[in-house]
């Protein structure tokens, strides 16, 4: 009996009844490399204590820095560097969630984001007659729902595959969508796509202006970040990490492996859809190029670059990616700057398989070791005196 047949049999055996059981009585199996943080906490006092124990100075510093950034930086750095990094980071976060915690590398996350972008452009207002010119909130709602459903469907198609086959099937779906939008004129306006897509104006504030857009992107990025962090500690996330590490055993424990995986795709699809709406507002347009193969790969690069061991990884990766995209051209010959971008990616991946987060962890560990040695040394000295 092959592994996939075995798993199918196990899933069929576990049946639908496993769902409520799994949700009501979680049996959190500890992940080997990424220890889970136990079950969700209850009660405000406990959560306050929990907050106090977990918030460190560096968390507050980073939060203050990202909040104050647009007040200090010129509009270009706020919009093109800051806001774009956040929006791309949010899309890459959906991949980190799937790949880092679910063990499923999907190349179609940019496709889901692109579906959201296209749906917004179709329902809301753009320079093309195809657009239905419905109110923006309705367009956003529809775009999010449709993109999440598509993300779930993509998951449903690809969960029964593993490893390289998941990559292949999601790549195939992504490329198929690219050709669909490029050659369909009645709905997707083909090669041209949608130009001058209108972003909403809320309470007299043009959302696409650099500072409002930055805070909007920041809000959703924080929401995505904390949402994913919460989910990873919740029974669902713990079960997901268990499935990543040993799906057969989880099935034996009564978890519906397929359902958990599809649910993970649904969550990732929703996150990517929010990122997709932000990107279509950011660009003011959506065209087949926005969902082309290069962007499918770029999202993977961002996620790998930052590191998949923590939800902050994709945002760090996105910042490095966007900085390189914008400023590499100033450092070297204009016709060769892609060489520099590729070289830096190669160096990061070569020297740290865990991305930039791996460096951080390695550096912090060394620092702790050094300071421990220092304290021990001092104690010895005082002892002698």
């Amino acid at each position: 009996m092959s592994a996939s047949q075995w798993r199918k049999a196990m899933n069929a055996g576990a049946g639908r009844t496993a769902w409520p059981k799994a949700a009501a009585a979680p049996a959190p199996p500890r992940a080997a490399a990424w220890p889970a943080r136990g079950a969700a906490t209850r009660g405000s006092a406990r959560s306050l204590r929990w907050l106090g124990a977990r918030v460190r100075a560096r968390h507050v510093l980073v939060l203050l820095a990202v909040l104050a950034y647009p007040l200090l930086a010129p509009p270009f750095l706020t919009f093109q560097i800051g806001a774009q990094s956040l929006a791309l980071g949010l899309i890459a976060l959906s991949l980190t969630f799937l790949a880092g915690y679910g063990g499923m590398v999907s190349l179609a996350q940019m496709t889901v984001a692109g579906i959201a972008g296209y749906m917004y452009a179709i329902f809301a207002t753009s320079g093309t007659d195809i657009s239905l010119r419905w109110p923006w909130w309705l367009a956003v709602l529809l775009a999010l729902v449709i993109a999440t459903v598509c993300g779930t469907l993509i998951g449903w198609f690809s969960v029964r595959t593993e490893g390289i086959y998941t990559i292949m099937i999601t790549l195939a779906i992504g490329v198929a969508f690219f050709y669909l939008v490029q050659q369909n004129y009645s709905i997707f306006n083909g090669f041209q796509g949608f130009q001058s897509v209108k972003s909403p104006r809320v309470l007299g504030v043009e959302l696409r202006d650099p500072i409002p857009f930055y805070y909007l992107a920041l809000f959703w990025s924080l929401a995505g970040y904390f949402g994913v962090k919460y989910l990873l500690r919740a029974p669902f996330g713990v079960a997901l990490q268990g499935i990543r590490d040993n799906p057969r055993r989880m099935a034996a424990l009564g978890f519906n492996v397929t359902a958990h995986r599809v649910a993970a795709y649904a969550v990732a699809g929703f996150i990517a859809a929010i990122g997709g709406i932000l990107m279509v507002w950011y660009n003011g347009l959506v065209s087949p190029g926005s969902v082309g193969t290069s962007w499918l790969i770029n999202i993977l690069i961002i996620a790998v670059l930052g590191g998949m061991r923590h939800p902050i990884g994709p945002f760090i990766g996105a910042i490095v990616f966007v900085l390189l995209q914008n400023f590499a051209v100033d450092l070297v010959d204009r016709e060769r700057f892609n060489l520099l971008i590729g070289g830096i990616f190669l160096i990061i991946v070569l020297f740290s398989p865990d991305g930039l987060l791996g460096w951080w962890a390695g550096g912090a560990a060394r620092l702790r070791a050094a300071s421990a040695r220092g304290r021990w040394g001092r104690r010895v000295e005082t002892g002698e005196a």
């Binding site: 090669f191 400023f327 100033d330 020297f351």
Partner: protein
């Protein structure tokens, strides 16, 4: 790891440097941003576009009205979002005074839309040729000194009908905006003069198999209008020949290129006399054009044997930017108002004749009708048979008449 840290440090230093440089007041320097595609499908074309723009700067020895010209280059990959990001960096970060670019049609529309948010900068087109850029919702600070896809076909319709006597034609073209424009340019004139296009086949871009299209072609037409890129056109010709087709061909502006001229099939002879039209012609014998080609060859040893369309169009747009600066003695004050006025009234001397702008800041220029001929050594080339001056964007129609027809599409214009 050290090398990476150094890289990151360099990056940080460069970022700071760029901010400082952007803030520094540059009195005696005029900064011009130059955007072309150095990546993606049009990388070779983008590189040649840059050569053309550089040639225009070299002709003035890098100076205009006593001010030094600083060119800041950027690259895109023919995608509109990438083009806008690159343009935004040049305008907002590098603080260029004038922006020249981009290369392809959908990029052009996106950059034109962006230009509306930057009224302090003057935007001049690179080589993008979408009709909509200047016809629909034009931007007051976006100028285009090159003619576009529809204008490039003017003169060909009459030539095909009157000189070649093709009264009924069938059409094979790629299914996107540029061929729509080309077909509109051809058919507007052809239909008006009494010709008929009885069958239209729109094929996907980069298609390889034309057998189903060829099977449906009507046999009672006099010729085929083929608006495909060069490589696709060779594929089509080969398959058309294999299926026993024998109709003569009329080509679009990018159809009868070197790949088609070097076509080795049995019907190679039938290519002789194939008419097409475009904004440049290699064999044009105007003195200005010959000088331009000689300058290009002398300056760029690594360039093409003859300047490409991209080199030429970037050249004239950059030349317009510099001639305009010269006309106002480098005065960019008052939100560049004087400069823009000068650009609007410019009578631009180009290697193919004088170019002026219409009320949408779109070029009115020259189109060449050419025909495939055999040179003395048996090599095929495009011989100029007709020069059509002063072609405007509405193809000689009044605004009201043109608006009634609208932009070219699958079904517009129509004369079955």
């Amino acid at each position: 790891m050290t090398s990476l840290r150094q890289c990151m440090r360099m990056l940080a230093v460069a970022a700071v440097f760029a901010i400082v440089a952007g803030a520094a007041d540059a009195q005696q320097v005029v900064k011009i941003g130059l955007l072309a595609t150095l990546e993606g499908p049009f990388a070779a074309g983008g590189q040649d576009g840059m050569r053309g723009a550089e040639l225009a700067v070299k002709e003035r020895n890098g100076m205009v009205a006593g001010k030094k010209i600083e060119i800041i280059k950027a690259s895109s990959d023919a995608k509109p979002d990438v083009a806008v990001n690159a343009t935004r960096k040049l305008v907002e970060q590098d603080k260029v005074d004038i922006m020249v670019g981009p290369l392809s049609g959908s990029e052009g529309i996106a950059v034109k839309n962006y230009s509306k948010t930057q009224p302090g900068t003057t935007f001049i087109n690179g080589s993008s040729g979408a009709q909509a850029t200047t016809l629909q919702d034009p931007s007051p600070n976006f100028f285009r000194f090159n003619t576009e896809g529809a204008q490039w076909m003017v003169g060909l319709g009459e030539y095909a009908l009157k000189t070649k006597n093709y009264k009924k034609m069938a059409l094979i073209a790629e299914d996107y905006a540029f061929p729509y424009s080309q077909v509109q340019g051809f058919m507007t004139e052809y239909c008006k003069a009494g010709g008929r296009v009885t069958h239209k086949a729109w094929v996907p871009l980069g298609g390889k198999d034309y057998s189903s299209v060829i099977a449906k072609l009507p046999t009672d037409v006099d010729a085929l209008l083929v608006v495909l890129g060069g490589a696709d056109a060779v594929n089509f010709l080969t398959q058309y020949e294999q299926s026993g087709g024998n109709k003569p061909m009329v080509g679009g502006s990018i159809t009868v290129d070197q790949t088609v001229l070097n076509f080795k099939g049995k019907r190679r002879e039938s290519l002789l006399g194939t008419p097409s039209a475009g904004p440049i012609a290699d064999s044009y014998d105007g003195a200005e054009w010959k000088k331009f080609v000689a300058d290009y060859k002398a300056n760029f040893k690594d360039g093409f044997p003859s300047p490409s369309l991209f080199a030429y169009v970037y050249y004239i747009n950059m030349k317009a930017a510099l001639d305009g600066l010269d006309a106002v003695k480098g005065d960019l004050s008052g939100g560049q108002a004087k400069y823009r006025e000068a650009l609007k009234n410019l009578k631009l001397q180009t290697p193919t004749g004088v170019v002026t702008l219409d009320e949408n800041r779109q070029a009115i220029g020259t189109t060449f009708v050419t025909e495939v001929a055999a040179g003395a050594d048996g090599v095929y080339y495009n011989k100029v048979v007709k020069v059509v001056p002063n072609v405007n964007q509405r193809l000689g129609m009044s605004k009201a008449d043109f608006d009634k027809v609208g932009l070219g599409s699958r079904d517009v214009p129509n004369c079955p």
